[in-house]
Structure formats: C-alpha cells, structure tokens
Symmetry: C2
Subunit: 473 residues, 2 copies
C-alpha cells in the first residue's frame, strides 16, 4: 500500500524544481505545423523517460514526427498506456502579452500564479506534471503502482496522422494493457471538475471548384471581373453547390442519408444527462464563446442534446479571388471551402465522403472536387461503468470534487485508435488543475495553490492518486 502522504509532501517541497521542469519543456519549441523543434522536444522527453527508469525508451519513427515510446516495468499487476502529446500549436497569433515560448510565470487573478506560454495547458504542462508525479513516487523510495507504457505523439495538432503506424507496430504489446490514460487538467475557471468520457469522430476535407476541373470559367488564374458578362463564375457555381447542402438557417444537413446511422442517446448517456443538465452552466459557456443564443434558442437539456448527439457539417473556412483591401475586380478561377463532418454514434468514417459525392452528383455538381485532407477517425466513448473510468471518478471524489460527467464532448480526438479494434482499451482522461486559451494567445496553466482551482502540486498529486486507483481496477 503506497504511502501517499509522503509523496504529496515531496511534491510540495519540490514545487520550484517541478515548475522549472515544466518551463524547460515549454522552452523547447515543438510546433508541428512548422516543424519547429519537434524532434528536439521528442529527444528531451525520451531522456526524461530514461531518467525515470523506462527500459527501451526511444523515438519510434513514423512517416511524420516520431512517437516517444517508453516502457516502465514496475512489476505490477496492471499496465496503463499513458497517451501524451508533445507538439503544440504555432505562436504567431497576435495578442500575446508575454513571449510565447519562455514559460513566464504571471500573476493572473483570481487564479494566482500561472505559466503563460504556448503548450502550457495543451498539453506540455500536464505531460511534465505527470512525469514529476512518477518521479515523486520514486523519490520517497516507493514504486509506481502500475506498469506504464508511454506513448507521446508529436502530431496531435496535425490530426494524429501517423499514430496508427505506431499502434500497428506495437499492437501486440499495447493490447495487453488494461487501460489508456491521458493526463489532463479537468477543472474549469471556477474549479468545477468535468469528466469527459468520449469524443465525436471527424472527417475533414476541402470542397474545391476550379475552372480547370469544371471546364467552364477561367481555368488558370483569376481574370478581370468585367468578363463575368461572358465567362462562367466558379465562385457563383460553388455557392450554388454549397447551398444545396443545408437548410436556409444552415442547421439541417440536406445530404441524403446523412442522419441515417445516428442513434438516439444510449440509456447510460440519458442517465448521465439527467445529472449533467442540473450542473451545466450554460451562461458561462455562451459567454466564453461570445454567443448570444444556441441554435433555435435551445436551453439546458435541449442544448446539450444538440451539442452531443447532432452530427455536423461545418464550414471552417472559405476563400477565393481577391480578398485584400479596396476594390480590385476579379473573376476568381477557384473557390475552396474547408469542411468537416463530426460523427456521433453510430456513424462511420467511411460513409461520409461517398454520401457527399453522391449528393453533389445528384444535384449536378460533378465538378466540385472533394479533397480529403487527412484520414478521418471515428467517435470514441468509454462507459462510466468501466473500472478505469471509476478510478478517475474515485480520485476526483477523494479530492472532494463531485465531477460533472459528460458522456462525450463535441470535439474530436483520435481516441478511437485505442478503444476500437485492434486494441479495444478503455480510454480515460483526468487530473485536477486548470488552464485555458489553448490554440489562442496567452495560453496558461495555473501553478499556484489557493485560488479557485488546483495548481501544479494538486495536479501532480491527482496523477499520483489516479495511478493508485488505476492499480486497483
């Protein structure tokens, strides 16, 4: 039986050292979209895994950035795959009030001290905090209570394109594990804990209409706008193609069979919703997004049902022709829309693009090209009844929190790579701490205790407790 108090005391004593380690990791850039420092960051993490005593710690090459792999044999009964990501978003967005890669500690009321930097919450802060937690167990002369298989990928921000290559190579070893754990920080800005049991799937693609493919309109470059009088317009044609896909309010997808495989919420989900709707803070959610109303002015359970159980067809961006200042005239030769479909149970990745193709063809828009930008991935859910999920829940309760449990979120993550064939592992996420502004300027993670949320020490302690509770599953 692990003596947790000793470990917690060590964590408290080591605050400055542990903070420094988080800062060190942040200062090593790892911007996958720009290939900036990614491999160096992988090497740094590999050294940390070696220091921890992982045998066979190494970079496993893929067609993209390497996966950092490490195998820690604690001689325990249970084995946990620790999924982590070491890449971050770029830092070129304007609005940073500190240099984005220095790991500066900034006082942010009401939270107290925070690290404000790219990767602070998404997710280098948690990654290093988890390593600090493991090291703290060892520092007290005790053993980590589970065996760990570390899988740190460097392409999460690129859609985890090459993670399947790693999983394929290591299927034999990974499938022997008992669960997958993703160290995260689950508190919102008021300290409320949210537990997330799953994600929607996603298929992301471009719809392109260009004159060359169409045979009408300018085929090679934008021409003078006055030629619209006798030359067809790929822009108008694209508008006409796109508008067949949704209702006039943009909310109902009119693609044939689009909703065919959508299942009503499972009974377990309905139970979770009964509780969730009581604590769901609609106002804060809308305020954070600067949204005045949800679709059809829905509230409470209705809004949650929409959020969680609607598949979506979303335009992420659209562009073509002259988009600068003033009044340059142009007849654009090409229009592109970045579109994604989010999948809910029981939709399949492979059904999406063929349905869109058939829709476009049926409406006479054979010339609209569908360009798949990356392999899509499915929705993923872990039952709250899974022992691994119960271990996370137990941990939150041990720390005095009754979490708000979401059967899944509307966002997507490649968790299905772990909890579907061939691995079939329960996937859980957890940790007690808070951060914000992922993918935005002034990203932060709270490090000081005493505010409405846990700081770095609480985060590390919660990871220790999660490991203990996972050992008991």
């Amino acid at each position: 039986m692990l003596q947790r108090e000793k470990i917690y005391a060590h964590i408290d004593r080591s605050y400055e050292t542990h903070l420094g380690k988080v800062q060190e990791l942040i200062r090593q850039p790892s911007i996958s979209a720009e290939n900036r420092g990614v491999r160096e960051c992988a090497e740094l993490i590999k050294r940390h895994l070696q220091d921890l005593g992982c045998k066979d710690s190494k970079l496993v090459e893929t067609s993209g950035f390497p996966v950092v792999y490490g195998n820690y044999d604690a001689g325990a009964d249970k084995t946990i795959v620790v999924y982590m990501m070491y890449d971050t978003q770029p830092v070129d967005d304007p609005g940073w009030s500190v240099p984005a890669l220095e790991g500066k500690v900034v006082d942010q009321p009401p939270f107290g001290k925070c690290i404000m930097a790219r990767g602070a919450i998404n997710t280098k802060g948690e990654l290093q905090a988890f390593l600090n937690a493991c090291e703290s167990i060892q520092a007290t002369g005790q053993e980590i209570p589970v065996n760990l298989i570390f899988v740190a990928e460097g392409e999460e921000e690129l859609g985890s394109r090459h993670l399947p290559q790693f999983i394929k190579k290591y299927t034999g070893e990974l499938s022997k594990a008992d669960a997958v754990f993703f160290p995260y920080a689950d508190q919102d800005q008021k300290g409320k804990v949210t537990m997330t049991l799953g994600v929607k799937g996603i298929v992301y693609f471009e719809l392109q209409l260009d004159g060359e493919n169409w045979g009408y309109g300018p085929t090679k470059f934008d021409i003078h706008g006055s030629n619209k009088a006798w030359v067809d317009s790929p822009a108008w044609r694209m508008i006409q193609a796109l508008c067949t896909m949704t209702s006039k309010d943009g909310n109902k997808v009119l693609i044939n069979e689009f909703y065919d495989n959508v299942e009503p919420p499972a009974s377990e989900d309905l139970e979770l919703l009964d509780k969730l709707e009581k604590t769901f803070d609609e106002t804060t959610k809308k305020d954070m997004m600067k949204v005045e109303r949800f679709i059809e002015d829905s509230h409470g359970r209705d809004a949650l049902l929409k959020y969680l159980y609607s598949p979506t067809l979303n335009i992420n961006g659209i562009w073509g022709g002259y988009t600068g200042p003033g009044t340059k005239t142009a007849l654009p030769h090409k229009i592109t829309a970045k579109v994604d479909v989010r999948l809910v149970p029981n939709m399949k990745v492979e059904e999406v693009l063929p349905k869109i193709r058939r829709h476009l063809d049926k409406h006479g828009f054979k010339e609209v090209k569908i360009v798949e930008l990356e392999e899509g991935y499915g929705w993923a859910k872990t039952s709250i009844r899974e022992p691994a999920a119960q271990a996370i829940l137990k941990t939150h309760r041990e720390f005095g929190h009754e979490p708000e449990i979401w059967p899944h979120i509307a966002g997507s993550a490649p968790f299905c790579m772990f909890n579907r064939e061939p691995l079939n592992l329960p996937f859980v996420i957890g940790g007690l701490g808070h951060g914000g502004r992922a993918h935005a300027p002034n990203e932060y993670i709270v490090v000081e205790e005493g505010g409405p949320t846990g700081g770095l020490a609480t985060l590390e302690k919660s990871y220790v407790a999660i490991l203990v509770n996972l050992a008991g599953i």
Copy 2:
C-alpha cells in the same frame, strides 16, 4: 497647317531622349494603394507641364491624392482636355523577371525592345509619350494645334474617388472644352487597332454577414468548429443568402427588377456590331484568359452581345474563417464577399444597392450588411458620329489601320465624370502602340519599331496626328 514630317523626324531623332524620359517617370514610384511616391510623381509631372509652357500648372488638392493640372494656351480655336492617370498598381505580385520600378529595356520577341516595368502601359508610358509628342511639335518651331487642359489624376487605381472634387471646382473651365482625350495605346499583340467608345458603369461593395450583426452565431471571434452542433453558422447562412441571387449556373441574376432598365443595343451599336463580329478574334481572346468556352457556349455576335449588353453581378472574392494549410477547425464569426455590379445603358448607379437590399430583406436575410466601398459610377459612351471620335478614326486610317470599333467595353472607367452632367464632353481614347500585362507582373510597352506593333516613336507620332485631327473638329 502643321508640317508633320518635320515633327516625325524630330521624334525619330529623339528616340533615346524620349525613352529616357519614360524611364525617368517610371522610376518615380506612384503606387496609390500604398501611398508610395504618389505626390513626388505628381510634382515631377507638374514640372514637365511647366517646361511645356503650361500656365497655371499646379497640384490641385483633393481629399485624396492631388490632381496635376496644367493649362496650355496655344491660341487655338479648339480646346482639348487631356485626361491622364499617374498612379500605378503595386509591385508586390510575384513573378517579375526584372525589378519592377527600374524601367529596364528588355528584348521581347516578336515585339522587339520593350520597357518592362510597372506603369509601362498603364499608363505612364503613354503619359510621357504624349508629353514628348507635344514637346516635339514645339521643337520644330511650330505650335500645338489645340489648347490643352491637362488633368492627371493619382487615384485611378483606387477608383478615381476624388476626381469629382476636382471636376466640381473646375467645371466652368472644363465645360468650355470641345472634347476629352485619353492618350492610350490601342494595338493588340498582332498590331490590330481597337477603338473603344465607352465603358460599363460599376458599383462595388461588400456583402458581410457577421454573428454580431446577426445576433446568432459567434459574435466576436471564430470559435472551435465542434460548436456548430449548437451554435449557428454565419458561413452557411451567408451561402444561403448569396445563392438566392443567381440561377444555378450563376449566370442569371435573380434580384427583382435587376434587368428592368437594361436597354437593347442602340441602332448605332448594332451597326458597329455588324462590322465588329467580322473581325472579332474569339480564339485569341479566350486563349489570353485561358477560358475554354463563353457562357452557354456562345460564339461570335452572341458572345459579343453578352459581353457588351449584360449587366453582371460578380463575386470578386470571398473569405472567412480558417484559410491556411491543413485542418484547423473553426466556426467563423464573419464571412465577407466582394461583389460588383456592372451597369449597361440605361441602368443607374443609384438603383443598384436599394434593389439588392430589398432582395435580401425579402428573402429574410436582413442580417446581411451591404458596405459600399466607393462611390459607383455610370456607364459612358461616345458616339462614333462625334467629331472627336471621327478624329481618332481618321488618325488610325492615316497610319494605314482600319480599326476594330467597340461601342464600349465591359470594363469600367470614370469617363462618365466627363461625358455626363455637368460637362457633357465627348470622351475619346487613342494612340498607336502596344503593351500588356497591366495589373500583372512583367507589364510592358513596346518601344522599338519594326515588330508587329508600333513602338514609342509611332505612339508619339500618332498623338501628334490626333492633335492635328482634333484641331479640325
């Protein structure tokens, strides 16, 4: 009676000097969109006008860039307003094979030597050639055969926004003139001469849909794309609004009363078309634009009728949300389309935006904002029967060319500021020379003789002849 041969000989002798003057003008940047060198260029032209002997040569201030004004009193019966523009497009487009502002002379088969530089053909080359022509008349001890009022504007590339301010101030003087002449170079790459008698009008505006104005969707910034499930999408809504405006092929405008004031071609236009369709080189036109077919596969007279007599609703550009590489997910808070309407006789500028507003409102899209980017201007036409037009025609014939006459083109220019109230002056364009790639990299004007088109000397001689013929109107 002017002794033209003496003047032509002087022009031939002065080739190097005249070329140098064109280069000097080109080397003085005058990029109005960037406020780069514009005023310096105006000062340079003012000095040239002073050297020519203009009295009262000066910069006339407007709310934008100044108009260079000069009044040359030849003691003649006729007075011609010489409309010129001294601003150019920017030079930041990639693809230049020479520095864009050095006025380099480059050998370009089959034309021979050309100046390759921004402004070479649009229209610093012609501007300086016209001044060279005037100077050459004087150099032979003869007098320019008409009085000249120079009006050189520095905002043509910005839509001539403030030219009306100048015209208002000088209405009294300008309205006493007999015609307006715009020195240009009318030969195509094969040497064929095109005479253009008018332009369409234009109204240029943006259609914007943003969540803040709408009250639905994200109001301040793009939010995570997964929120489409419960948050309205300005992008889809904009698509739905735009698609109501055209037929499925994008070619028929479905805005109520849009075509109401469109007149059938005038009888004079039909006469011109009878001739035009015989020489109209459809293949070269399509090849230059890299267009494989005209709308509805029209050819010859049908294509010309479309080009000249259709008003258009064109999307010049559209953008919103994430438009970079890869798969960032976003629910955009704002979509913008740059749209223009081209006006044919007898449409009025002031009828356009109210019709579009009524259309959007009628279809339930009150939230789509119309932002007028600049004051529109009307179509403008000069009859071929006008003595000033006959003077241009006569000049071309004197040089051995039977021009292809276009009753107007589909492009727009603010000529209506001269040929409508209060000035009501015939507006003519002309000159024998060739250039290309206006608004594009490697813009050029031919300067050497002996190729399929006239060079700099021919251009200057044709201006001399035009002045002589305008004196006879």
